[in-house]
């Protein structure tokens, strides 16, 4: 019976529809330092931040959980997110907000070498309302309702969609399956008939605990491109406040697959966790990316 349900999770990915890569999902840059440090493995965060990658992961919320995440790319793009989750007798509810901002973009006319007409800012945000319910002790389901907005200059767009996820255990092995933006008919509307598709994302991951190590692997579907990730986490039994993790991730740029190594470290004191992750960047000047997050789960 368990294998059948696990198979359904897998089949849900095989039936993934393929759509053009239009709307830029800011969650793609990562939603927590641990997720990035493990190679962008979805669904295995220990706090409410997992709602962005797999809402079923909210089963790990004991009573109340909160997390914040921050990073800045090339000294220009600021990414932030904050999530809160709470366990109720009916399941776990969570609320998450992530945004990306860029400031001082020059607005120009079509006359070359003319002075700028002014400056504008860019902001993209997503708000998610998540709900998780444990069907069995070994099977957890979750769903998110998402609301997207993007604005810059005279452009303003908004859209909604739905995420679903499942987490299942087979002995000590944990499986995570998630589909984001499953409402393929829903997109971001800009007015006057202009719209962008909200791309469907599917992921299937596994965590295998071996002594003080946790091994991770993930298959991620992004449009017609299959991406793989792998990660390893070490939590020494003699000092379990500290975790060290590393990952390998594939990512897509202009339909070509590239890869990267990631590293990270986490510290958990009582119920408060601090995580840092690092990966290299393609950029000519800023070839390091740093991620930082804090979470509380009690």
């Amino acid at each position: 019976m368990r294998l059948i349900i696990l198979g359904i999770c897998l089949l849900s990915l095989l039936t993934t529809r393929l759509f053009s890569n239009d709307y830029f999902l800011i969650e793609d840059i990562g939603t927590s330092a641990k997720q990035v440090g493990l190679g962008m493995i979805d669904g295995f965060d220990d706090s409410s931040s997992t709602m962005f990658s797999n809402p079923a992961g909210l089963y790990r919320v004991k009573n109340i959980s909160m997390s914040v995440f921050s990073t800045t790319f090339i000294d220009q793009i600021e990414y932030r997110n904050i999530t809160m989750g709470a366990r109720t007798p009916m399941g776990v509810w969570a609320l998450g907000y992530q945004e990306a901002s860029v400031f001082d973009i020059a607005q120009t006319s079509s006359v070359v070498h003319s002075e700028p007409l002014g400056y504008f800012d860019y902001k993209s945000s997503v708000v998610k309302l998540g709900y998780q319910y444990s069907v069995k002790s070994w099977l957890h389901l979750g769903a998110n309702l998402s609301y997207f907005t993007q604005s810059f200059s005279d452009v303003y767009g908004q859209g909604t969609n739905l995420d679903i996820g499942a987490i299942a255990f087979y002995h000590r092995i944990e499986f995570s399956a998630a589909l984001r933006n499953i409402l393929t008919f829903s997109d971001v509307q800009y007015g006057e008939g202009v719209k962008e598709d909200l791309p469907l994302r599917g992921s299937l991951g596994v965590r295998v605990p071996i002594y003080d190590f946790d091994l991770y692997a993930q298959y991620h579907q992004k449009q017609s491109i299959a991406l793989m990730s792998a990660g390893i986490e070490y939590r020494p039994s003699f000092f379990n406040y500290l975790t060290v993790f590393s990952g390998y991730r594939q990512y897509e740029v202009l339909s070509k697959v590239s890869n990267n190594l990631t590293f990270g470290v986490g510290l958990r004191l009582l119920n408060v966790g601090f995580s840092y992750a690092y990966e290299r960047s393609d950029h000519f000047e800023f070839d390091h990316k740093n991620y930082f997050s804090v979470d509380v789960n009690f």
Partner: protein
């Protein structure tokens, strides 16, 4: 006694929740500071870190040390930014924002003929475009106009949003800026 225990537990949870919120906001602000002093930020006074709108006009000679030498994760690299010996005007896309299908022109001027490189990055800091140009072959150094449209990115469907470009000459960044793509 059981009710007292439950009441005490309830108030403990309230206090813990308030502490949690305060701690989270403190950590949030702290995280901003961490990012501000991260390894990749130049520690030298450097106009490169001061974005003057979307265009950059380099006014002074300085060495930008891009990485903290004391960091075990950093590699030693220096980017020398020379004075305005070559870039004569701020680079902008005309018009901006624009639809990729309509195209736009990157325009700027140089003081002298030069071979330079243009690189374009998306909001994930991934490189989308990299090409070298000889100013003498594209209309002269005093009126550089480089057209970008869908063909520049192999007709890939780029998302609407902000993109970043660098102008590189002899291994040094002489100019940078950003442009916005409208949704198609």
């Amino acid at each position: 006694m059981y009710m007292s225990y439950r009441l005490l537990n309830f108030f403990q949870n309230i206090v813990a929740f308030i502490v949690l919120i305060l701690l989270s906001f403190s950590a949030y602000s702290f995280s901003l500071e961490i990012v501000e002093i991260d390894f990749t930020r130049s520690t030298a006074p450097n106009v490169l870190n001061e974005w003057d709108g979307a265009g950059m006009f380099i006014n002074s000679i300085n060495y930008g040390r891009m990485f903290d030498l004391n960091s075990p994760l950093s590699s030693i690299s220096e980017t020398q930014v020379e004075s305005n010996t070559i870039l004569a005007s701020r680079p902008y896309f005309y018009p901006n924002p624009f639809r990729l299908s309509d195209g736009s022109i990157l325009g700027f001027r140089l003081f002298e003929p030069a071979i330079f490189e243009i690189r374009i990055y998306d909001m994930r800091a991934h490189e989308l475009f990299k090409e070298s140009f000889d100013s003498s072959l594209i209309g002269g150094h005093e009126n550089i106009q480089i057209r970008f449209d869908s063909s520049s990115f192999h007709y890939a469907k780029l998302s609407s949003g902000i993109y970043f470009f660098l102008i590189i000459h002899e291994g040094k960044v002489i100019g940078r800026g950003k442009f916005a793509l409208r949704p198609e």
